[in-house]
Structures are given as C-alpha cells and as structure tokens.
Symmetry: C2
Amino acid sequence: MKVGMLGTGTVGQALGSAFIALGHEVMMGSRAAANENAVAWAGREGERATAGTFTDAAAFGELVVLATRGVENEAVLRLAGPANLTGKVLIDTTNPLDFSQGMPPKLAIGHTDSAGEQVQRLLPAARVVKAFNIVGSGLMFRPDLGGLRGDMFIAGNDDGAKATVRQILDQFGWDTIDLGGIEASRYLEPMCLAWVTHAARTGAWNHAWKLLPAR
Amino acid sequence: MKVGMLGTGTVGQALGSAFIALGHEVMMGSRAAANENAVAWAGREGERATAGTFTDAAAFGELVVLATRGVENEAVLRLAGPANLTGKVLIDTTNPLDFSQGMPPKLAIGHTDSAGEQVQRLLPAARVVKAFNIVGSGLMFRPDLGGLRGDMFIAGNDDGAKATVRQILDQFGWDTIDLGGIEASRYLEPMCLAWVTHAARTGAWNHAWKLLPAR
C-alpha cells in the first residue's frame, strides 16, 4: 500500500517507519519538498521511503496520515489539497495543543468541537478516522506492555475506513475501541491531555491506555 | 470516620456500603429525611448506617461524598449548605451528563469548565477532590480486575485532601493518578464519556481504566 504522511515530526517518523517495516511505500510530506527531517528519514529507511511536499504526499497515498501539530491542521490540509484526499482514508493523529501557557499544554478547542471534527469538515470527501492521538510516538508501533495489548480508541463516520484502521492497529500491536462518529474526538483529545498532564507531572511518558474488564 | 453521602443512587449506595465495610459511619443524605432508598440502604447496612437530609449528611460527615446527578450539583449543594462543608474533604464523583438527546449522553459543560470546577466554586471553603467519576458504581470498591489494580484519576487543589483520597482509594483497591488542580476535571469528565460511549455501544459496563507502562 502507498501511504502519504503529512508531517515530519516524531509522530510522522514513528508511523512512517512502522509502515515501512510492514512492507508499505511511504512518502513523507512537508511544506518544502527537501525538508531536512523527511530527506534524512527517507535516506535511513531505504528505497520504499521518499520525501515530497504535502501535495505530493497527499496525492501519493492510498491512505494518508495527518501528523502535524493540531493547531496547524487547516493550513497543512489546504497545502495538501482536499481534492487529493477524496475518498481516501485519512488517519488524524493530531491534538489541538495550546502551549501558550507552558507545560502541560491546554486544548485549543473542545467540548463543542474537536480537531477530528475540524479535519472532517475541511475534508468532506475524505474518510477521517481519529487514531493514535492518545499515546506518545514511542509507543505507536508494537509497544512492549508486559505481555498485554494496549487499547487504541478511534472515532470516525465511515465504518469501512474504521475497519481498515482496525486492521492496521492490529498489525501495529493494538486492540481497537471504536467510539462511533468523529464527534467522539471530543473525548479522545481530552484523553491525550490526561496522559500528557500525568507525564508532565511525573516525567513518565511511556504509557498506553487499557480498559480492564472486571470479572 | 464519619462520612456524609449526598445522593442515594447506585453510586451513593456503592460508596456508602464500601465505607461501612471499612468500619466507618455513613449518613446517606437526600432531599427528604425519609427517602426510601436511603432508609432501605441504612436498614440493610446496620447501626453504623443512617439516613437524613442533605443538610444532615453534610453536617455529619468529616468527609463528604457528592454522588448526585452532575446537572443537579448546584441545587444539592445549596440544600447541603456550603457552611456545613467548610474545611472538609468533599469527593466529587459526578459527571454533568445531558441525556436530552438519548444514549449515549453528552457532557452539559466542558473544555472551559467542568463539574469539578463548578463544585469547587460553589464550595470555596471545601477541599474538593474529583474521584470515582470514571468508572461505574459496580467497580468502585475492590473490583476484580484479574489480578491487576485499576488506576483512579483524581484532581483537586488541596494536596492534603488528595492525600486523604489517595489513602481511601488504596483501601478501595485502586492506584491513584493525580492530574493536579481541579481544572483537570475537564479531562476526567470526558474520560467518563469515553467509557460510557463504549459501554453503550457494546453493552459492557464493567471497565476500569489502566495506564500500562511500556518497557
């Protein structure tokens, strides 16, 4: 499968490398075609990894991953070109973090809106699935959780797209909990803030979520 | 210890019975002194269990638990009498659930406010700790989670009050994750909605939260 990655940060690199490890082709997109991070990453990952612009990566991907800073989603998606994403599964990993008051960050939007819903509004013809926003980049691919599998919570309006993401998550080492339509991003983005706040207070950034069933 | 319980529903009964099981005295408060649920509960629990009004229970408790419907917090706390709660630890278990659009419910407030903050504003002289809002009443006391301990997330402005609640949670079978000031209720109340939404979609209401550390 061809995967377009929008964003060259730690999340983009972690997920890009994971898709490469599973045998896929990945183009990492950024504002400039020759972005330093993207070119270096592609050099390390070999011939199935390439670098391009946001537009290039959006057009390249059969599946596209949004891995930019949440507050930049609109600007990035305009550069990517909504028409390049028509009908495609777009995994939204972002959180609308506001660092203006320092650490831990706050959410820039919430309760009556979310980054997930915003992304779906900006891309009405794409099939947006919120995923990967509730864990750190170091845990996204096959984390060692002491023999347990973590739960990745997802949300999205398209059941077919969520089935695709569920398969990907299974290969990435996660169980999936589907919270329904994309508006459930209003709960998933605060969950990110719960672990970020805990991590900022304790210095431990290595946590995955799990729902434990009581007997 | 004397525990005042504000609310006679499943949460009030579960937590009231838990405090009784640990040897405490509990008065269950409601609008009417002779509330049917409270009187029946006190009858089952024996001589350390009593029933009274919200005012009675607030005055009785050295520690007080708010276990009403979140959207009724203000009305209940006015009946309880803020002066009766001065200096006391008040555990806020509530979620501001709006069922007007059916199941799953939505949050009536969020992002820039929360039930936890609202309760602390209504009781400026009480030491409010958000706790128990992220699990169902059946799991609150010593849930059997297959040998694992669940994580209870808490928030509050008073470190001494949180130390008290942490001790209680330990006796109740929970590890505690402290997210800082009461404004972190903005994350804990959406976490409730995440599990409620999952439960409403799957019929499984028996989940506790756990943060799994990656190795």
